[in-house]
Subunit: 267 residues, 2 copies
Amino acid sequence: MSIGKTTKYSSDIHDLRMKIRMNEWSSQTTGMAPQNVQTNLAVLPEEYAFDFLLYCQRNPQACPVIEVLRPGVSQPSFVSNRADIRTDLPKYVIYEHGKKICEVEDIQSYWRDDLVTFLIGCAFTFQGPLLDAGIHIRHLEEGRSDPTYITSIATRRAGIFYGPLVVSMWPVKWKDVAKVVQITGRLPLAHGSPVHIGDPKHLGIVDLDHPEYGEAVSLQEDEVPVFWACGVTPQQAAAKAKPSLMITHSSSHMFITDLSYRHLDIM
Amino acid sequence: MSIGKTTKYSSDIHDLRMKIRMNEWSSQTTGMAPQNVQTNLAVLPEEYAFDFLLYCQRNPQACPVIEVLRPGVSQPSFVSNRADIRTDLPKYVIYEHGKKICEVEDIQSYWRDDLVTFLIGCAFTFQGPLLDAGIHIRHLEEGRSDPTYITSIATRRAGIFYGPLVVSMWPVKWKDVAKVVQITGRLPLAHGSPVHIGDPKHLGIVDLDHPEYGEAVSLQEDEVPVFWACGVTPQQAAAKAKPSLMITHSSSHMFITDLSYRHLDIM
């Protein structure tokens, strides 16, 4: 598989992560390592951990939990046995009391023994299987991060965490819609089936050209907008809940795991 | 659908739950309301809630979480809007520091504001779809609760919670195995696909005639033993972890929800 300039990294995930760790790669990860599971990151103090895990359990399409590390632990055991989430994402965002403080390339200086790490599925995991099936992915073709919108749909509250569902949109040719539903539906830990197909008004989205995150992409005449629940949803919830500290990946700068997407396939 | 003497209750789940609430039914629920989702119950003080939810997340086949109630809340909102888990199961077990204290028909006198309720999927939910597909269910035919075994396979630890995987066994005709895998695989929140098909030695089970829970059932010549992860697993984990208090359903005396099994179908 070849996705432009990132192909050279795909053959060895460890090498790729070392480049990220050494800050030799601090750009977005969309299209990178397309056979591998990518995840969202959410790091919170232990006092919020139960409520947040419950928020994920109540909103599994937006927040499919792939791994949770115990307080103070920064090395995953399930998705990789040689990674450190403090250094191995290209860019992080630090929030204090719900306010974005800064973006950084590693979080070692922010690390504390009471921090709990949540790794949450990401739609970038779909890219490999969709490309393998001959589906075009517009935002990759246009060299952009996928457009992401805040909807008018409320998620299910858990403790202090509540807020709107956030979705990403990928244009799909009408002839490919059924195939795309089937392929993504088999990967519920990467957000699973679309939450909506068609008119964005049903989600309370007024203008596809102005996404809240990512970049707008073109929509052609034989295509329909297809929307998946997005891992930015818990960041929105945290913005409302205002925990004393929350650390997340920067938009589209995900954690690349050692897992093949085949590990998550339910069939 | 007709399953002997329990049929008269199946038409109205609310009536059925009222009989359970009034202690007019305190027997097991296998075969009852076969179109409805049944769940395991685990109630723990808040201090253990994060570890326990994490244990479930790390062992999703044994502990598929369907609903978690906030501390002190005894009325579900997702699986029913008119139930109370303190009265609506036919029988409960009280454990203190890992030791079984007693079995009771309601837990109102044990209730506290810091208790967190976990509703975990149950294989009884399979009974409707399997019967609908013409599959025989031996333990129903023989009027028993299904045999359940402690395996030699370790679950993934989370905090204080660890222990062996527990499985239930239903004999399946060789000709029906593929169909049974497909039907149950579509219901991961009711334990999903079998964890093992065939020789019980691979699970460290020495003698099918002596299950640790439930009752042995006959295995015919054209049948193979099929094993599913069982919701007794977290009770084993709690027995080892010795929390100050844990309340569970009594074996095979489950919580019957308002949800049709179709609500959990992934396809």
